[in-house]
């Protein structure tokens, strides 16, 4: 089967990595893959250890396709009658779509199979009435994971601690602040627990802001400490750094469902999950998206760690079902 895959797989963020991971699975399939990257102005991955996969799929000369796979925001999804089958894996960011966007979702749902890979997107598709959808298990491709030497960040005295960690974009301020408070008042009280916050592309100003916030939190809880147990580690977003971050931590805190959770599973780490039953639509008055967003409405239970083994990709079954 000839497959055209359009996704932001060159972008240096979790969305890009999710797309790249699926591209690796497609590349390893028996099908002929042509890929085209969708750009949105974000930084692109510079250290392309997967350049062979990208170049191979971008340079194919195929011009007739049997299946179109799109991993794009709703406003960028397209429909063509010239390709027989279509899989749509929408990038929703948990935002409730406008009425116009809902109409587009419904139109595309009448022509395509929808995919989702997390509880929030599944909730959203069901909320807008799209019943025909499949949960994609985008398990980590060996091409991403199998590196000869995965390093560790030097965290000095904390290396003997029980290291709770997450990889989070600094813009998720509410989630990060909530986690800091949650950590200080619960597991942070124990002597040998620390929290590592790996933050891609963080400026000195934002780093200072979060460190000040951490100090204020300790103060407001009236906890005097001889050593701060919450450490922010700025990183460049690339595959080697992400693998090193996971290799450094012990318990992954899954703030927002992303491909990092799957990487943590590959390292056989315990994971702290949000509970999908706690989802609800929230209207944030600061949010420019007028229609609200889907979010977890209770704090994470940091004592509730789960060991879950990595899943097996179900991409082959999904493609066969659409053949």
């Amino acid at each position: 089967m000839n497959i055209l895959y359009i996704a932001p797989y060159r972008l240096a963020n979790d969305l890009g990595l999710e797309s790249l991971n699926l591209l690796c699975h497609l590349y390893d399939s028996e099908h002929i893959i042509v890929s085209r990257c969708f750009f949105n102005g974000s930084a692109t991955i510079k250290d392309l250890s997967l350049l062979d996969v990208i170049n191979h799929t971008e340079n194919s000369t195929i011009s007739k396709f049997d299946l179109l796979i799109q991993h794009l925001p709703i406003q960028n999804l397209s429909y063509t009658s010239k390709i027989g089958s279509s899989l749509v894996w929408p990038v929703t960011q948990g935002l409730i779509p406008s009425n116009e966007q809902i109409d587009k979702y419904k139109f595309l749902a009448s022509k395509s199979m929808f995919l989702c890979d997390n509880a929030i997107d599944k909730f959203l598709l069901e909320h807008i009435g799209i019943k025909k959808h499949t949960m994609l298990i985008n398990s980590i491709s060996n091409k991403l994971y199998d590196k000869p030497n995965i390093g560790k960040f030097d965290i000095g005295i904390y290396k003997t601690y029980n290291k709770y960690y997450t990889i989070v974009n600094h813009s998720l301020e509410h989630h990060i602040q909530s986690l800091i408070i949650n950590f200080i008042r619960t597991i942070g009280k124990k002597q040998n627990n620390c929290l590592l916050l790996f933050m891609p592309y963080i400026s000195q100003n934002i780093l200072d802001k979060y460190n000040t916030y951490i100090k204020e939190c300790y103060k407001s809880f009236d906890i005097s400490f001889s050593i701060n147990k919450i450490i922010i580690i700025p990183i460049d977003y690339n595959i080697d750094n992400l693998l090193s971050a996971h290799n450094t931590g012990d318990v992954y805190i899954n703030l927002k469902d992303s491909i990092q959770k799957e990487l943590a599973k590959k390292f056989n780490h315990k994971v702290i999950y949000n509970k999908s039953s706690q989802l609800k639509i929230v209207w944030n008055r600061w949010d420019l998206q007028k229609n609200g967003a889907i979010n977890f409405y209770e704090d994470l239970d940091l004592n509730n760690t789960v060991i879950s083994s990595p899943g097996t990709s179900n991409l082959k079954e999904i493609i066969n079902a659409n053949a």
Binding site: L4, I6, R10, V34, S35, R36, C37, F38, F39, N40, G41, S42, A43, T44, E58, N59, T61, I62, S63, K64, F65, L68, Q70, L72, Q75, N76, L77, S78, T80, K82, I83, E100, Q101, K104
Partner: protein, 281 residues
């Protein structure tokens, strides 16, 4: 809901032959749009597989916005010499900005003036002109002002004070018939227009000369204040200039054929439009 970027990606792979011409409407674009190997549109109101722009500097300044909007590769046409004010560092920035764009040069002098020497991205294409058989000269002088240029209007008044001169401001289906009826064409700012007029057997005055030395019926004008003297001389010597004019006309029609030109542009389209569009933020 606008999703032209994704539509363009899909269409560029499945054989769409539409080109978005993001540039000035002039004789060059008119002749280009007459080709039936591809479909030229002037507004991005349908999906397309390639964009053409005729203004390298303006395009380079808005490249991020435009390329993200359309997600197609671009052919950048260099039809005029680099501005004298363009410094070495400006050329360096321009070259970096156009790192993913394909550059088309129609003339060696113009190519040298820009000094953008990336052979992997550079395409040398020869202009092509349509052949028009009835080139009977019934009028003396015309001046071309298709792009509505104030300085050309002033030049028209300057010539008209001394000689019978028409100004051509519109493009229509009779364009070749009209142009070929003049003995002298003044085309100050456009190399393609000069070549087209020269191919009809006219004597041409222009600020731009093709590097091709075999075309002898185009005079390079540096100082337009004395153009009336030059015009008078050509009209006085019209009969004795006929051998030069006819030889040049034949040379142009033999060497700047429309079919070769169309095929070169179309081959570039086929080669470039299918390449993956890469944007580096």
């Amino acid at each position: 809901m606008h999703n032209i970027n994704t539509s363009n990606i899909i269409n560029s792979l499945i054989g769409n032959n539409t080109i978005y011409y993001n540039g000035k409407k002039n004789i060059f674009s008119y002749i280009l749009s007459e080709c039936d190997l591809f479909n030229i549109i002037y507004e991005p109101n349908q999906s397309f597989s390639l964009m053409i722009t005729d203004d390298p500097i303006a395009y380079s300044q808005s490249i991020d916005k435009i390329s993200l909007q359309f997600h197609t590769n671009t052919l950048v046409l260099f039809q005029q010499s680099a501005p004298a004010a363009l410094k070495k560092e400006d050329r360096f920035i321009l070259d970096k900005k156009l790192a993913k764009s394909f550059r088309v040069f129609f003339d060696e002098n113009i190519k040298k003036s820009w000094s953008l020497n990336n052979p992997l991205l550079t395409k040398d294409i020869k202009y092509g002109v349509p052949e028009y058989s009835n080139c009977t000269k019934t009028k003396n002088i015309c001046i071309l002002d298709i792009e509505n240029n104030d300085s050309i209007k002033r030049l028209y008044q300057h010539i008209k004070n001394y000689a019978d001169c028409d100004i051509i401001t519109d493009i229509n289906d009779d364009l070749l018939s009209i142009l070929s009826s003049y003995k002298i064409c003044v085309s100050p700012n456009n190399m393609y227009d000069s070549l087209l007029c020269a191919s009809t057997g006219s004597w041409v005055f222009s600020s731009y000369l093709l590097a091709d030395k075999n075309i002898e019926n185009i005079s390079n004008v540096i100082d337009y204040s004395i153009i009336n003297d030059s015009i008078k001389k050509v009209l006085d010597d019209w009969n004795s200039l006929q051998e030069t004019i006819q030889n040049s006309k034949k040379y142009i029609l033999d060497n700047y054929t429309l079919s070769n030109y169309y095929h070169s542009i179309n081959n570039s389209r086929l080669q470039i439009s299918r390449r993956a569009f890469i944007h580096e933020a």
